[in-house]
Amino acid sequence: MSLLELKNVSKIYGNLHALDHINLKVEKGEWLAIMGPSGSGKSTTMNIIGALDKASEGEVLLDGVDIAKKSARELTNIRRDKIGLIFQQFHLVSYLTAVENVMLAQYYHSVPDEKEAMEALERVGLADRAKHYPSQLSGGEQQRVCVARALINYPEIILADEPTGNLDEANEEIVVELFRKLHEEGTTLVVVTHNPEVAEVAQRTVVLRNGKIDHESINENFTGRIKHITLQ
């Protein structure tokens, strides 16, 4: 059984089919990239997978459970327990430090644990920035805090919507490298991106167009690394 399966999923706004009968499977441990032009329905797909929004039609099976029919309350629980979200605009709480931002996810999940939160920051290489506020961090560092926050509760799947959209190349590489590490550790990743370089490093790429899947490609020589750089 796939970890995630979309069956004939549509999202309809008025008479606009933002998603039009999408069928998609994501296996456990897979690293999937979603590409497509602006307005093609990438974010809409993410919202539906991420239990932030409900599909108008079709089934969304996460772990074999159809989340398309769940109540708002149950969706919140699913987000909390199974999903790690990363956004283009980071969305850190500005008056909390890096480590507190990570702890916030723990707080709403169960109990905040500063030690564990520090370990998560260490994994993204930000242990020394733990007490800094978002405004004192660079964009790349902020996004790494977001990665730490997304993985703190051991989600089944990490969803990233344009995670590198606001980053320069160097920071983009750092974030991609983090994804590679997470992938190696067995985390399931779905990454929406405009950037072919970020898409190329995934195992598989799905391209959306007008709310439909236009085509799919498998990365034959998958390494998880951006080609033109060498990280040690």
Binding site: S43, N47, G50, L52, D53, R73, T76, N77, R79, R80, D81, L85, F87, Q88, Q89, H91, V93, S94, Y95, L96, E100, M103, L104, A105, Y107, Y108, H109, P112, R149, D161
Partner: protein
């Protein structure tokens, strides 16, 4: 974590929070001031009105009929009297506690040394009584004639060593007759004559300036009217009249049992009168109309005004708070959307926001409460010329008002917060 978040959110939003606290402080101070004044004002006004003297007079039944028919004023033409023995009973009625002071009067005609006629009023000055209940108290005219100015000498001290053979003389009479303090005067009454020492000269600013006031015993001896009094003046704290009181005043018999009970057990001037009539044989007790009526009206109007001010202050505060809190939530919509996205349930976020605002309200409310106390004193001094005493009841009342108003003020923000969908704020469209 919760506390840490609240504390940090506070510091971050201190400007807005200060504004909210200020708004609440403003509302709370007004509410505190108005409630304090309102609760204290009833007694204040009563004290104020007590300065105008008695609000109930008691006369014999026949005298009351004659008075009504012929309006003869002071003179006792009916020849009927009340009994001095029963005076103590006034302090045993249901509303005895509300009887602030009272004194009997007995007016007799007498002649001075030079033969000029004068009205001599016998009364109590600081009369000491042992009540049937075992209580002891002093009663007398002093508090019922608080506007008298003692020009010379002193009030008569019934308990002092000068004992009974003393008199107080009105300013006009004293000037006319050339009498001063310490002088001896001889009064010839219908039955007896007496030599009295002048203890004081008063200025009453009215017809009493032509009279002589003596102890009740002296007047009784002069007129040969031992044990008798003409009238009693009573100063009582009363509740303003309402429809029930007016209906009862016309005829207590027209009330249902329950109404009667309510009326009897409320300190309406009519029920106090009724209770006095119950203990003083063949008496008619009636409110001194003008004062008793205007008293109730002024009080009711003032209370209404204060309730209105409090109400408006609270509405104003609620509107102010709702604007500020909504603005604050709007400003934080991304943060709130994020919290929802990472698994915060609505109650958790609502709780966070409301706790923040309630903490702010607590601070604002405390500041407002103390400011309001000061405010109440200012009102007390400018309007009533006395301090307003703090009623403990004001604290819970203001606390409840502030809480309710704050919560009402939070409603629009909370609704917005509940309807906020993370997808709408997180993708930065």
């Amino acid at each position: 974590m919760f506390i840490r978040m609240i504390a940090k959110a506070f510091i971050r939003q201190w400007k807005k929070m200060t504004m909210i606290a200020f708004t609440i402080a403003l509302g709370a101070s007004l509410a505190t001031a108005m409630l304090s004044v309102m609760m204290d004002v009833e007694d204040k006004v009563n004290q104020e009105l007590k300065a105008y003297g008695a609000n109930i007079t008691v006369v014999p039944k026949e005298a009351s009929v004659v008075n009504e028919l012929y309006d003869v004023g002071e003179e006792n033409v009916s020849g009927s009297y009340l009994s001095e023995d029963e005076l103590g009973k006034i302090k045993t009625i249901f509303w005895a506690f509300n009887i602030v002071d009272y004194t009997p009067f007995l007016n007799v005609e007498a002649k001075l040394n030079d033969g000029s006629p004068v009205t001599v009023s016998g009364t109590w000055f600081n009369h000491h009584m042992k009540l049937p209940t075992g209580e002891e108290l002093d009663a007398g005219i002093a508090s019922l004639r608080s506007w008298w100015e003692i020009k010379d000498g002193n009030w008569i001290d019934e308990q002092g060593k000068d004992k009974k053979d003393v008199a107080m003389i009105g300013r006009a009479l004293a000037e006319e007759e050339g009498i001063g303090v310490g002088d001896k005067i001889r009064l010839a009454g219908n039955r007896n004559s007496k030599q009295l020492t002048v203890a004081g000269i008063y200025d009453a600013g009215g017809e009493e300036d032509d009279q002589i006031f003596v102890t009740l015993d002296t007047a009784q001896a002069l007129g040969g009217l031992e044990g008798k009094v003409d009238s009693i003046e009573v100063s009582a704290l009363t509740t303003p009249d309402n429809d029930l009181a007016r209906k009862a005043a016309k005829d207590p018999g027209s009330l249902s049992v329950a109404q009667y009970e309510t009326w009897y057990c409320t300190a309406y001037v009519s029920s106090i009168c009724y209770q006095i009539e119950e203990v003083i044989t063949d008496s008619v007790a009636s409110p001194v109309r003008q004062v008793a009526d205007s008293e109730g009206q002024i009080l009711e109007k003032m209370k209404l005004l204060m309730i209105l001010i409090t109400f408006l202050a609270m509405i104003g505060a609620a509107l102010g708070i709702s604007n500020l809190v909504t603005a604050s939530v709007m400003e934080r919509s991304q943060e709130i959307g994020l919290m929802k996205a990472i698994g915060a349930h609505n109650p958790a976020i609502t709780g966070l926001v409301i706790t923040e605002i309630l903490c702010t309200a607590l601070i604002g409310g405390l500041i407002g409460f103390f400011a309001g106390q000061g405010f109440a004193q200012v009102i007390g001094h400018t309007v009533f010329g006395s301090a307003i005493s703090m009623r403990p009841m004001v604290i819970p009342l203001v606390a409840v008002l502030v809480t309710v108003v704050t919560l009402i003020g939070c409603i629009p923000a909370v609704r917005m917060l509940l309807n906020l969908r993370p997808t709408e704020v997180l993708h930065g469209r």
